[in-house]
């Protein structure tokens, strides 16, 4: 399955859009991203007019030295989270949404490669600090060892029996915890797993002075969930293709949203984007033409 290579994100300023894109791609920070500003934001008058920033972001290649351009300007703080009503969709998991996405998507481009997604974010994220970083050769194997050591120590602190394996694939550190007792570390909707992954990332960042993409699985949970999400996405893509319109999924974290984006891109025939603010950000699967 092809990975999403880059995403397009709309935000009230460049920094906001980049931050959202970085999260969506699962990158460690803006420094790990290659950013192309497609549209500079313009300030409107009394909340009227003006335009959002649009950026195209992809994971920085290890050799790339391009730096992102700074964001500037504060767009009009338009209300976001259009058509999100409530979570009545929970039983079905999805909600048919007839309202088009929040005003921001007024200029759809259909000439995009199919792996692109347009995002719409209005989140008031603080600007990231722009500190120039010296590029150093990052030893992923060493980082993987750091993750492993951290997880082994964590199991020990919990007093749980389990095995930890870490390997590097395509520049991503894949950590795997197995053992019957360790499934307690998954948590509802994988919340504990997510937290452990976040902490692993933080610790690697501090110890190696470099970011890393880390994926963690515990007892096969992540893989099972991904597979279920792919199947579910496939059904929704089929439905949207047949019936048109768009379907909004329930809010998910960035990693799960990426699975949906990837699965939909793989199937083709629809476009996907995300709406809403973290932590209640949702993927929308929409028919290609008529919106």
């Amino acid at each position: 399955m092809p990975e999403v290579e880059w995403v397009e994100v709309r935000g009230k300023d460049v920094a906001v859009a980049v931050a959202a894109a970085v999260e969506e791609l699962g990158l460690d920070g803006p420094d790990a991203a290659d950013v192309e500003v497609l549209q500079q934001p313009e300030r409107g008058f009394l909340g009227m007019g003006g335009q959002d920033a649009i950026v195209r972001v992809k994971a920085k290649q290890p050799t790339s030295r391009r730096r992102r351009r700074g964001g500037r300007g504060r767009g009009n703080g338009r209300a976001s989270d259009s058509g999100r009503a409530d979570r009545d969709a929970k039983s079905s998991g999805a909600r048919k949404s007839q309202s088009s996405s929040s005003g921001g998507d007024k200029k759809p481009r259909n000439d995009q490669p199919r792996q692109s997604q347009r995002r719409n974010t209005e989140a008031a994220r603080p600007k990231r600090e722009k500190e120039p970083k010296v590029e150093v050769e990052i030893d992923r194997g060493e980082q993987a060892e750091m993750v492993k050591d951290f997880l082994v120590g964590l199991l020990d602190a919990f007093g749980l029996e389990g095995e930890v394996e870490c390997k590097v694939e395509e520049d991503i550190i894949l950590a795997n915890i197995t053992g019957e007792q360790t499934e307690a570390l998954v948590g509802p909707k994988g919340a504990i797993l997510q937290a452990i992954m976040e902490l692993s990332r933080t610790i690697v960042q501090r110890k190696s002075q470099a970011g890393a993409r880390i994926r963690l699985d515990i007892g096969g949970y992540t893989e099972r969930r991904r597979e279920a999400l792919r199947i579910y996405t496939g059904r929704l893509v089929e439905k949207v293709t047949e019936e048109g319109g768009e379907v909004m999924l329930e809010p998910m974290n960035a990693a799960d949203r990426k699975v949906v984006h990837d699965a939909a891109a793989d199937l083709g025939g629809v476009r996907t984007f995300s709406e809403g603010e973290e932590p209640r950000r949702s993927v929308v699967i929409a028919a290609l033409e008529d919106e």
Binding site: G153, L154, A157, F158, G159, G187, Q194, L199, I203, R206
Partner: protein, 82 residues
């Protein structure tokens, strides 16, 4: 001791995150029959690391601390003390 696993887990994670591991101190305070608070103290220069950008690290620590508390049938909160 009540909250022992919470204590171990929170202390372990905090020490991994900070620069000055020796200055990390975690104290368990019993708030009720089934509730403990883990008070985390660290070097001033490390507080930002433990809390993280927009409180992300602190939030993750809280989630994992509650997982530790579940092992003992407790509720746990984590307070970061300046």
């Amino acid at each position: 001791m009540k909250g022992e696993i919470v204590n171990r887990v929170v202390e372990y994670i905090s020490k991994e995150i900070v620069e000055n591991a020796d200055e990390v101190e975690v104290t368990i305070v019993e708030e009720g029959p089934d509730e403990v608070v883990a008070e985390v103290r660290a070097a001033k220069s490390d507080m930002g690391r433990v809390i993280g950008r927009r409180g992300r690290v602190a939030k993750a620590i809280r989630v994992v601390a509650q997982a530790a508390a579940d092992e003992e049938g407790l509720q746990a909160e984590v307070e970061f003390i300046d």
